[in-house]
Amino acid sequence: MEPVHYVELLNQRYRQQGFPPYEWTVNEPATLTPLDKPLSECRVSMLTSGGVSHCSMPDWDAHARNDFRLDTVDPASSSTDFAVNDSYYDTDDAQQDVNTVFPIDRLRELAETGVIGSVSPRLWSGFMGRIYKRSHVNDVAGPAFAEELLADEVDLVLLVPA
């Protein structure tokens, strides 16, 4: 199957509903930070925006709008202790095995086998659903998240929009 043309399909859908053309965010290249050490020495964190919540936390609102809740996830958590709620995609597989969108078991294994140095003390779930306040992401939520990663001395982040 060829890659899905989501942009074209969404533009068509919005047109059919009578909405004005959607203003897609188009970012320009910015700072690129290469790793300055081998992957086997790196501390790795992970962020999913796929509506993944640990059982100790409330479920995400599958239809969330501008929800800037950001959960920390203990990297020692059992992968069977998560719920997945997101109306943007079919969550059946993720509910069966959260590693399809939040590969917490696989990250731990890569640390145990020395492929990566370690898993960071906090993993993350947030920026979920429909976020239209782009300036808040750029000016507040994004920089605040970067500060948390710096506090954990993270070298590399795996970003998973689901």
């Binding site: 942009v7 095995d97 590969p103 990566i116 795996l158």
Partner: protein, 89 residues
Amino acid sequence: MIEAAGISTVLVSTGRDLTELVCPPRSLFVNFPMGNPFGPPTATETQRSIVSAALHLASTATAYGSITDWAETWPSDFSDKVAASLLAM
């Protein structure tokens, strides 16, 4: 902004055209349905391979905005899942 703070990032994406617009520093495009960027449930080897390949991009990708294509494709047509996602958007 994470990269500007000195931390490398890698994005694993199931929407190639969306990724081209967003232009993250480096990405692995996996032509699987949304919800399965690391493969099917319990497919441990596939999941591990994709995670590992993505993380290694942090060492090998040198150009901002580079998108690397995962060679394997989903074993079946997932147009029905795409249609359902579009209805929710």
